[in-house]
Every structure is written in structure tokens, then in C-alpha cells.
Symmetry: C2
């Protein structure tokens, strides 16, 4: 059973302020927790149903577990569909930007679902990191973790002063605009930065000044724009098909 203090902590960790204070975050739902266990990442405490614990006992050696009914899990969960398991996990160690290959950098992407989807995409296209500006959504937000579909265990999110990073980078810096070079014709380097802006503000000027190759997904119809996660997926596909 969940104690009062445990319920309180689980509820608190849905908020950024308390995640920062405890240096811990939540991983929820069967798929994400199995990825966490398979990756061998440290788990502070796992709360799960009898069914979950018995189905996955082989993966739980050394993990502090508390058996909990699904109603109690639903009550402390921030996600509608989660009632099998919740884990408390320590903050990941901070990473440096790896500039050896393609660097995916996000400028002001504040929607958690989009950030999570982009982390999943990075994992599909073989990147190890996503670089985010200070004001992007918190990547340890439960909605982000959920949308990554497990990819959060493999992708480091590096939060930094994006203009400062770009100023120090030497190499091609591609940026997604509505009037850049057609990505179907762009000769992409195997090493370079791809900058994506938010759907509402695009790439902002402090970042935009460093873009040396503005690129665009060609439209064949009338829709004005694509969602930032969708655009990121299509551009990464265009970059990786060449490299």
C-alpha cells in the first residue's frame, strides 16, 4: 500500500519545483518502466500492481518495490492511462554536447508532447542527444517521458544557452524555416546542427543569426505548416538517407 508520505511525494514529483528539490523524477506506465529496467538505470522506488510485479519479477532484483493496487496508482498518476506502475528515478547525470555527428537542437519548444515525440525520433534516427534551449519544456516532465515511449533511457537531453553553443560551433548549421532551401535537394553533411523552432515562434533571432543553411520541407498542397515534431521527423529522414 502507498503511505501518505509516498502519495505526497509521487504527487509532488509531477511538478518541476519538487523534481528539482528532490533531484528525482517519475517514470509511469508499463512500456516506459520496462525500458527503464532493461536499461539498468537506477530506480529509487517502484510502486506497482501485484500483476506487474509477478509478470516482471526477473527484472526486479535489487529494486525497492511496493505492491500497490491500481486504483491508488491511478490516483497519484498524472497520466490518464497509467495504472500498472510508477517509478521514482534519480536525475540523470548532465551530459556535454557531442558534436561529432548530427546535433539536433530545439529553440523554445515548450510543448511536452512535442519534446517527447522528438526524443523518440532522435532514438529512431540514431542520435544520442537532443540539445534544448533553456526555455524548452522540462524533459523530465511526466508528459515528456510518456511521449518518448521508452526512448528517454537512451537519449541525453542537454539544456544549454543555445546562441552561445551555436556561436562556438564550427560546421554547418541548418535551420527549419518556411522559405529555405528544399530539403529534397539539400546535400547534407554527416556532421552538422539541425535547429528546429517552436510552432508558434519559429527560430528566434538570437539563434537564427547562426543558421547558415535555412531549409524547408516542400509543400505540395495548401496546409500552412507542419507540427514541429512532424517537421523534425521528415527533416531527419532527409538527412539520414544521405549519411
Amino acid at each position: 500500500m502507498l503511505s501518505k508520505n509516498q502519495s505526497k511525494l509521487l504527487r509532488a514529483l509531477a511538478q518541476k519545483k519538487y523534481r528539482k528539490q528532490h533531484q528525482q523524477y517519475l517514470v509511469q506506465g508499463e512500456k516506459n518502466i520496462l525500458e527503464l529496467l532493461d536499461a539498468g538505470l537506477k530506480v529509487v522506488h517502484l510502486f506497482a500492481t501485484t500483476e506487474f510485479l509477478s509478470a516482471h519479477s526477473a527484472k526486479l532484483a535489487g529494486v525497492t518495490c511496493t505492491e500497490t493496487d491500481s486504483d491508488s496508482l491511478s490516483k497519484v498518476s498524472t497520466l490518464v492511462s497509467n495504472n500498472a506502475a510508477i517509478a521514482i528515478v534519480p536525475f540523470p547525470e548532465s551530459a556535454e554536447v557531442d558534436t561529432s555527428g548530427i546535433v539536433l537542437a530545439l529553440d523554445g519548444v515548450s510543448d511536452p508532447g512535442n519534446l517527447g515525440t522528438i526524443i523518440r525520433l532522435a532514438d529512431w534516427y540514431g542520435l544520442n542527444q537532443v540539445v534544448v534551449s533553456e526555455d524548452c519544456a522540462d524533459h523530465l516532465n511526466p508528459k515528456v517521458i510518456s511521449a518518448t515511449m521508452g526512448s528517454f533511457v537512451r537519449i541525453d537531453v542537454v539544456r544549454c544557452d543555445l546562441p552561445e553553443f551555436l556561436a562556438s560551433y564550427s560546421g554547418d548549421i541548418y535551420g527549419a524555416y518556411l522559405d529555405g532551401e528544399n530539403v529534397h535537394g539539400t546535400a547534407f553533411c554527416a556532421r552538422g546542427v539541425l535547429v528546429m523552432g517552436s510552432e508558434s515562434h519559429g527560430i528566434r533571432e538570437p539563434v537564427g543569426q547562426y543558421i547558415n543553411t535555412p531549409i524547408t520541407i516542400p509543400a505540395f498542397g495548401v496546409a500552412e505548416s507542419l507540427n514541429v515534431a512532424m517537421a523534425t521527423g521528415i527533416i531527419l529522414d532527409n538527412m539520414k538517407r544521405q549519411n
Copy 2:
């Protein structure tokens, strides 16, 4: 002001049963309603704030409008962010499948957000239709309309018995699988059907038997899958770059 009956009707139209009964659906939010007005589609009744009505008066000639405060609009709206305007719109006329170019067909895509995003993609890539199996999400669901970002005014959704349609189709039928031909190397015809299955069930056998070219987006990393809307976008980009 909204009358009691108007509130009741607006709330009812959030449900499929009442949309069918009234042969009407809802369009909500500034962007979608402006697209509706610009497209010259018939509007039965528009409920909007003073600000919306005065800002867009030029587009409202001949439209039955009721001035409403934003609180009342929020109360009858099914969308969190909508408080500027709601329109009641008659059902679109039913369309036949146009087999002259690329036909995008969805098998069991039940998530409204995914369906809406795919309608927006179809509009970006210059298709005029999306063909959906009987059990796909209702395309007049408010969440679908919202996710289309206005593209619902240009894209016909044709609901049909998908196996029956495919049985009658002559030409290439591409289907997205996890182990098909690499889309980066596929020579796509300018005419053909692209079938996408749902994230949870993939393409089901009654439909799968008609696929003559199974295709796959190559993974460069570890993520197991992509969301169906994302995969649709990346595959359409691969098809349209050639045609």
C-alpha cells in the same frame, strides 16, 4: 448570449450519436473557423465573442451569428483552449475515392489526434482525400477537426469497407510494416495506395492480403516504432519527392 437550447445542442454535438442525428458537427477555435469562412463552406450558426465578430466582420456576411462571452464559450467547448468562437456546420457531402493519384488509406486508426494530424499532412502533401476504414476515429470528432489546423476544409474523408475497396483497386498497394522494403530505395509510382495501420495493431490481415509492396522507414537507432501520423508524414515525403 447562449440560450439553454443552444448550449444543449453545442454540448450534444460533441458526441457522435447527436452529430449523426442532427447531421451537423462543430468547428471550434479561431484558426479553424477562419479556414471555414475563407473556404466559403456553409455555417448553420456561429457563436463568437464581440472581439472575434468585430475583427472578422468582413467574412461574416450571410452567416447567422450570436454574440457570446468567452466564459460561456469555454463552458460548452470540448477543447481546453477554445474561447473565441464555435460554429455549427452541416455534414459535408459524401465523396467517392479518387484513384487518379496517391490514395492514402488508414486501417483502424482510432486516435482522433492522429487522424487530425494525418488530414493536415494530406493537405501539406497535396492529396485531396484520406480514405478510412469503418472503425477509424470519427473524422467529425472535435479533436480531429482541431488537430487538422484548418485542413479539414480541403480534405475529403471517405469512409469505406477498406478490404472491398482494395480488392477493386488495380495498381500498386504499399503498406507500412516494420520489415518491408526500405522507403529510401523504393521506386514509388505516381499512382498507388498507401495503407497505414494503427500503432497498436498494424495493418490487419483482411487489409494486409492486398498489400503488394510492404515498405518500412529505416531505423538508424533503437526506438521500436514511430507514431502512425509521424510514419505517414515520412512515407508521404518519400513518395512525393519522386513524383
